[in-house]
Symmetry: C2
Subunit: 342 residues, 2 copies
């Protein structure tokens, strides 16, 4: 059994003394094939342990049943969860998921799109890198008629669909919750405002403040990286001023955690003196001794929805391009870091 040769439709056709075309048709359940031969072919195919060569099929049809997913890093909880959703939705339809990492660098994104297009994937899912400004590489995908679905971090390109959460609402909910806890001087740690998601969270924060008659203080809006240290140093900055916040709404769980650690170090009581809310509902937030309130982005659902949009697109008529914007509702998980009604 040194070199198990692949059995092809020709082998079957020879054995049955019929043409390869008939075999192919029988295998594909072509309606104009007699039931008898169909069954015969099926049976002998099974007996000979025949397997379709997907490659040949793909070359013929132009469809590989592979899709590519481009994310900054695959081992971030959020992204791997989205990918899980995509995989689980697509796998029953016979698709395989290829993963690519941009490392937050547009240049990698460009290269990966190129090689993905080259290997003839049937579609691309992506969350753009922080450095992505220009969308030429993305429009190229559109021109090649390859479906592209954004998730979470999107760019506005006409003709392209996206699945996101309502980040504005996420920011609004978080802020409103803080206000209802009695907080008035709420600071916001925003991420990179080049990314829509952070801009929207920030705008949600501003809107909630205004809706409740609180004028947001400019100095209380800080751009903070998604890192513990950044959260900590932001706290130091804020506490070096006279006017100190009574709540932090961080667009990142990591920065929120860094803030909490720093506040504790300074002896500030949470949530009594300062309430803290994060964003993303990272696994660790619920495990802490002081569990952290956070906005969940339903990543698995996001992946499933992105997959559904893709399926609609390719199952729809070829000529019609669908541009669908799916916006999922974020969910606020209220935990001890901001809950004064314990």
């Amino acid at each position: 059994m040194a070199e198990k040769d692949k059995v092809t439709i020709y082998d079957i056709s020879k054995k049955l003394n019929i043409s390869a075309a008939t075999v192919s048709r029988a295998l594909n359940n072509n309606p104009k094939i007699s039931q008898k031969t169909k069954e015969l072919v099926m049976k002998t195919a099974a007996k000979m342990n025949y397997k379709q060569n997907k490659l040949a099929q793909a070359l013929k049809s132009g469809k590989t049943h592979n899709v590519g997913v481009i994310v900054p890093y695959i081992n971030r909880n959020f992204f791997s969860s989205v990918i899980r959703g995509i995989e689980e939705e697509l796998s029953p339809h016979g698709y395989h998921v290829i993963i690519c990492q941009s490392h937050e660098d547009v240049n990698n994104e460009i290269k990966q799109i190129d090689t993905l297009l080259n290997t003839q994937i049937d579609g691309i899912f992506m969350s753009v890198a922080k450095t992505t400004q220009d969308t030429d590489h993305i429009e190229k995908v559109l021109k090649e008629n390859t479906p592209l679905v954004f998730f979470d971090r999107k760019k506005d390109v006409t003709g392209l669909s996206s699945v996101t959460i309502d980040d504005f609402r996420g920011g609004y909910l978080a802020t409103e919750h803080l206000i209802k806890q009695g907080c008035k001087k709420i600071a916001h740690f925003s991420g990179d405002l080049n990314l829509e998601i952070y801009k929207n969270r920030h705008e949600g924060y501003i809107a909630a403040m205004k809706d409740y008659g609180i004028e947001p203080i400019k100095e209380f809006s800080l751009q903070v990286n998604s890192k513990l240290e950044s959260g900590a140093s932001a706290i130091q900055d804020l506490w070096s001023e006279d006017e100190k916040p009574d709540a932090i709404f961080s667009a990142s769980d990591y920065a929120a955690l860094g803030a909490i650690q720093e506040l504790k170090k300074m002896g500030v009581k949470i949530p009594e003196e300062v309430c803290v809310v994060g964003f993303s509902n990272e696994p660790f937030t619920k495990y802490m001794e002081l569990p952290i309130t956070s906005v969940d982005q339903t990543p698995v659902e996001m992946g499933r929805n992105a997959a559904k949009v893709f399926l609609e697109q390719i199952e729809g008529s070829k000529t019609l391009t669908i541009e669908k914007k799916v916006v999922l509702a974020p969910e606020l998980y209220i935990r001890d870091s901001s809950n004064r009604n314990l």
Copy 2:
């Protein structure tokens, strides 16, 4: 620009009035092609924006430059980190990574191996499901001459390579560390002993105890799921007896966390009265207020190494099958949950 037709080597050959074969050879840097035509072809190919059709190439060569990775769930930190390592090592070599999830079910594993083989992947990486006992589906891969590399959770199949950490040593290190903290009555939460990794960690624990002249107590070895609740209820079980442990070495960080939470609830001081050590170095362990000591499995390195083994295998002579067992050194991260020398 409605339907951008793909340019093929024929288009180039026509334009240059040479044969497609020559174009192909020039493109592949075949030595028996004049420098002049080579350059000419290259230049016009670039000008015409020619892209190789990987599919046709794959059909011809039988190599897709795709590999499959099968893991229980992709959104577990450990697995997604391994995949990151695989992807980063393989991507410069022109390989794409397809991900599959077994959901800890052998039947899925079987199906996925089937479809992966069907789509002609060049290799498979996998961490077996908990329920996997039989290895028929794995031996099938071997018979088809497709390289298969196990990582972390392996099965002993002759001819197959694997990359793991030294779980025995991990268990030994953790236990030794606890003994050096002055603990003598060390309990062990093992995972499913059907999996080698858990068996080995357990054996490392036993060996360390004996090496230090401590007779392990049978009742202190419990099979505990990788869940918070399981860790908590294991603590309840242990503390319902007269003889109570002064340390817990859990083969799972989640069970360790559950144990810590339960112990705190009972007013037991950590690490003064009981030291706790986990396994996997999950991100949350270092974020806790009481950071948890844990054994790191260097998942990204594991992925990189698995990829290297694969590359060696396919770059080596076709007839020779390599069976390589790479064992990485685990690293103990000592944190407050077990550190009495603060």
